[in-house]
Subunit: 338 residues, 2 copies
DNA sequence: CTGTTAGCGCCTTCAG
DNA sequence: CTGAAGGCGCTAACAG
């Protein structure tokens, strides 16, 4: 059975379609009496306006697109949660697109979105993205774009990020203060804004404490986790003097943890590990894993708010609306000592 | 700048709108020559059809709605991943709606979706849902519905689930075989299909091994995790004879793990724990947590496939298309012994 | 092979 | 306060 439409309601009420439409939108120019009649029938018939017709007519879809690498990364799951919250409050819907860090997919998604399916886009760029023509071309549309977490420096728009540089600096100092002499840094792609910032925080902290900056201690991971495990193991065996590890992403922190155990390197006695992570369950790791935890939910919510504000006012987002939220360095106690 | 439309292309090519439309859809009834002309201009102008206009006209949105309690539960994140994969392959888009296990929200979401925003719905019901009128009313529309994981027995449609009863039975036997005498069962809501099945598997396994079925060993958790921790702690102290725990959901498994540590009950020597869980990081827990892991990605993918098949053929989904996938009992070795 | 025409359901001027 | 009419962009029937 097809859903009822305005025409059917109008016929049944002996009113014009226009009046019914206005009544349902609570327009001032319709009498309270007819409003009530209309509303009564509408709810009785479970009338629901056709989103596509009204989107076409009004030229706005009340929908935002979220383009992220993966949803199985807990950071992004939390961010979506925040985004959905903000969107729902404003009566917006959320379309999800996953790039799986694949540049070609990202391009095709953005290209499609330019057709006007969404009123605005929230995005965390794929790790492989270098050519940003597809993103620049969004400027020629009326679709606002807000970046979160993995931003694109060359695009002039609002960005919601965390203080990656500072927290990486702080994490490295934490390791130095704990007596580490040879701190490895694990990162995925130095192509990514976050990867670069985190690496720089690490490097600058080492320099500030006149500690060696050995390039051979910096390991570039890949998307393949098995491969990463092998790379880390190789590094740890080649450099048995490593007594600290700073992992730029969760996956690598967990992998490093794994490798240390496998090699029988005691954590934290032999090797201390700090990593970016949003997994709650790391609190149950024993020995403890110190983490830098991002306010993922807030990042999503704030990014969505900025986007929605622009969408509602049909104005461009300004880079001056960018936001930097603070991550938290969580040092967990060993469960032995609880 | 507004995106180009068919009209503009048609004018520039001295063709009718209809021909341009047909050319872009690769219709047989248009010459190869004009097709090429049209396509060339379309790509040059970055033409992208307006999704809303075409949805309105064709009366199909190429969009499916996914209604789930939360996205921060890793099971659902994995499921979305599978859903997105299947949807993308068929050229479908994915709208996400979160109920947060709130009945009223679920009703309002479904009500809205009946307006025709989506061509089909994939859903895992909220834990508080008892009245299913809103779901039944979907039958009166042409919108197919497929349940996954948290299904609703009274609705006559396809359901994709896991062998909860069997794997719970198996998990309980696993604990019995390991010598447990007093096995607690932790669950969230016995209102949920999965909660009931899992509880029944536990009960039947106990009975089959003529083991005590003490109702005081069954703990009903809530949505509030702090509260759950307190409840579990209270139970463990009231019944110090408990030597096995079977947790029906991840959250409770992790909480039980926590409480045991806090109370100094050695795992697995004093207490053995088995829980449903999709967290990869539990593999790093030490001592090990035996888990029942659902094929979450596959569940999402298969559910989406069934839905999309129905959508494409404009046919109802049959309950005979239901699928039961197998969970895996993963017994992890202690890292001590690696 | 191409063009003309008629809507999909809704909103929004413009007239009464 | 209400109605009539036009059109958002696209597709599909019907003519040529």
């Amino acid at each position: 059975m097809k859903p009822v439409n305005l025409k059917q309601l109008a016929e049944e009420l002996n009113l014009s379609i226009a009046t019914v439409s206005r009544a349902l939108q609570d327009s001032h120019e319709v009498s309270a009496a007819t409003k009530n009649r209309v509303r009564a029938l509408a709810t009785a018939r479970h009338y629901e306006p056709n989103a596509y017709a009204s989107s076409l007519r009004r030229n706005q879809s009340k929908t935002i697109g979220v383009v992220i690498p993966k949803v199985t990364n807990h950071f992004f799951a939390l961010a979506i949660n925040g985004i959905e919250e903000a969107a729902r409050q404003c009566g917006y819907h959320v379309l999800i697109y996953l790039t799986h860090d694949d540049y070609a997919r990202e391009v095709s998604i953005i290209q499609h979105l330019k057709g006007g399916r969404v009123d605005g886009i929230l995005m965390s760029v794929a790790s492989g993205t270098e050519d940003i023509a597809h993103l620049k071309s969004l400027k020629e549309t009326t679709i606002p774009l807000v970046f979160f977490d993995r931003v694109c420096a060359d695009i002039h728009t609002a960005k919601v990020t965390t203080n990656d540089y500072e927290s990486s600096y702080q994490a490295t100092e934490h390791l130095l203060a704990a007596g580490c002499q040879h701190i490895a840094h694990l990162l995925i792609s130095n192509n990514l804004s976050i990867g670069r910032n985190r690496l720089q925080g690490y490097l600058d902290a080492l320099q500030a404490h006149s500690c060696e900056q050995d390039p051979s201690l910096i390991l570039h991971g890949t998307m393949d986790n098995q491969h990463n495990l092998a790379l880390i193991e190789e590094l740890m065996q080649r450099r048995p003097d490593i007594d600290g590890i700073f992992a730029s992403v969760e996956r690598l922190a967990v992998s490093a943890y794994h490798v240390c155990r496998k090699l029988g390197r005691a954590i934290p006695q032999d090797v201390k590990i700090v990593g970016f992570s949003n997994l709650e369950s790391v609190s149950l790791f024993d020995p403890p894993l110190t983490t830098i935890t991002q306010p993922a939910h807030d990042i999503g919510r704030e990014a969505a708010k900025i986007l929605l504000r622009a969408v509602e006012k049909k104005r461009a987002v300004l880079s001056s609306q960018s936001l930097v939220l603070n991550s938290e360095l969580v040092r967990r106690r060993s469960t032995e000592s609880v």
